[in-house]
């Protein structure tokens, strides 16, 4: 992809891109929309960006970018037909922004073999860009979780409705458990027992915070390491499709409840409005942020991109 390579200064030292993963427990909460438009917002600020569609079962990132989805895809890389992942990058209508398509792939991300996942994870860091944004599929399969956990930042899209919130918490619980998958077997057994055992009222299972406090009591020598491991996750919530003013408070509230339940920090990045212009831009086959650059959602997305860039720069 010439635009990306030309944007690199000859004096610049090659370095690995920042990898952001956009995930969530539920389909239809705007993961592809957010991935595409965050990437375009970064591109508008001069960053070299590659968006990767890892929702292999139902890929539609290309649609949010106003593209057709034809051409080389991740399958070509995973089967060895293409050896350099950078050769999969398709141009978008914004300079410096490219996309790697998962469209038309028969592969389900959940069914990726271990070596395929390892190959992809390894090569994501060799993509020639400042930022790589992963658009993940819904669900909590190990493969999806691994891409999310291994990214430098995890962005979670949630909508202000109970089903989305319930799935978001389930997703987060799986993320945290997956993050601790390298813990000693005894610790993992204990974690599973605590997190699956119901409280005395028989309705709710115990929280991750309870597991950590049990670890504090039983194995105080290991507990700090577990906490450090969980704290290393950089997680950001985006509340999508808000309708009422009070919906905008959901992110603050979830930040607080996550802190309590998971004993971990989940940052509230911002919110996006329910806006019929989003549907309109999809029908026009035009990326939202370029079709409606003055809209309030475009402003919010650009602000989110700037906030995350600032965090990465420090």
């Amino acid at each position: 992809m010439p635009e990306i390579k030309q944007a690199q200064s000859p004096q610049s030292i090659p370095r690995q891109p920042h990898v952001w993963a956009v995930g969530g427990g539920k389909g239809g909460v705007g993961k592809s929309f957010i991935s595409a438009n965050l990437g375009l917002a970064l591109g508008k600020q001069g960053k070299r960006v590659v968006l990767v569609d890892l929702d292999l079962g139902s890929a539609n990132l290309h649609t949010c970018l106003g593209m057709s989805g034809s051409g080389k895809t991740l399958s070509d890389f995973l089967t060895g037909e293409i050896s350099d992942i950078n050769d999969l990058i398709h141009k978008t209508e914004i300079d410096h922004v490219g996309m790697i398509s998962g469209a038309a792939d028969n592969l389900q991300i959940a069914n990726l073999k271990y070596f395929q996942k390892a190959k992809l994870l390894r090569n994501l860091k060799s993509i020639d860009a400042d930022y790589v944004i992963l658009d993940l599929g819904a669900g909590t399969s190990f493969n999806t979780l691994d891409f999310f956990v291994e990214a430098d930042r995890g962005l979670i899209s949630v909508m202000p409705d109970p089903t989305s919130i319930e799935n978001t918490y389930r997703f987060l619980k799986c993320v945290f458990m997956r993050k601790l998958h390298s813990a000693p077997p005894e610790t993992k057994i204990l974690m599973n027992r605590v997190l699956t055992q119901r409280q005395q009222d028989g309705k709710k299972t115990h929280s991750l915070a309870t597991f950590l406090s049990v670890m504090d009591g039983l194995h105080p020598e290991y507990a700090p390491e577990l906490r450090d491991n969980l704290s290393s996750l950089q997680l950001h919530l985006i509340v999508n499709q808000v309708l009422e003013p009070r919906d905008t408070e959901l992110g603050h509230a979830m930040q607080m409840t996550c802190n309590r339940y998971f004993a971990a920090n989940v940052d509230y990045l911002g919110y996006l409005h329910h806006d019929k212009l989003v549907l309109q831009s999809l029908r026009q086959r035009s990326p939202f942020i370029t079709a409606y650059p003055q809209s309030r959602n475009a402003v919010h997305i650009e602000h989110m991109a700037s906030s995350l860039m600032t965090l990465d720069d420090h």
């Binding site: 929280s207 504090d216 409840t257």
Partner: protein, 200 residues
């Protein structure tokens, strides 16, 4: 496995997600956010907490606000909490109001090397714990009520009566909850509580 939940409240600043230097306005706003986050019809609590959890959290929010919104209570809380929980400075360096009485004597001229070596053990001895608790005007009955730990065990902790201790794994848990109630760092208390140190 019977899981004993840690019913001790998180520190007030963590509960409200504000820094210790938070202004009065920050505290008022954080209190409002916490009330909204945990109110019965809040979306954010959906599927996460039981009724019992929420009752406890509501009580903790009110308690935290009652302390942080009162300059005197907040100052006392900070004096103990900030020294005990958020940095490595031993709390006996915090100021006179939190120095256990017997430590003041130990710091007097004539303090020998063996006393210095046993400093941590002295700070977290049962006797010192009682002094701190009494300085804060917290009764054992209050701690028993808040933590659901039998007063008999709490008394044994302060008296260092090992024959009346529960099993070690429970003792560690009880010490943590006790420490939280009187504003000490739970990790440090478990690490330096003399009867446990003697076992190790």
């Amino acid at each position: 496995m019977n899981i004993k939940k840690d019913d001790s409240p998180p520190d007030y600043y963590t509960l409200f997600q504000i820094p210790p230097e938070a202004s009065k306005i920050d505290i008022i706003n954080a209190y409002r956010h916490a009330k909204l986050a945990y109110q019965q019809d809040s979306l954010a609590i959906y599927s996460l907490f039981s009724e019992q959890d929420l009752d406890q959290i509501h009580a903790q929010i009110e308690e935290a606000y009652s302390v942080l919104s009162d300059p005197i209570k907040r100052r006392d809380y900070d004096a103990l909490h900030l020294q005990a929980g958020t940095n490595s400075t031993p709390f006996h360096e915090a100021g006179e109001n939190v120095i256990p009485l017997h430590r003041q004597h130990a710091d007097s001229p004539g303090n020998n090397e063996s006393e210095v070596k046993s400093e941590e053990g002295d700070i977290y001895s049962g006797e010192a714990l009682r002094e701190i608790r009494e300085t804060k005007k917290i009764t054992l009955e209050y701690i028993a009520q808040r933590t659901k730990i039998s007063k008999r065990y709490l008394q044994a902790i302060e008296d260092e009566e090992s024959e009346n201790f529960p099993e070690t794994v429970y003792l560690r848990g009880y010490l943590r909850q006790y420490a939280s109630q009187i504003g000490l760092d739970p990790d440090k208390l478990v690490r330096h509580y003399p009867p446990l140190s003697d076992q190790e």
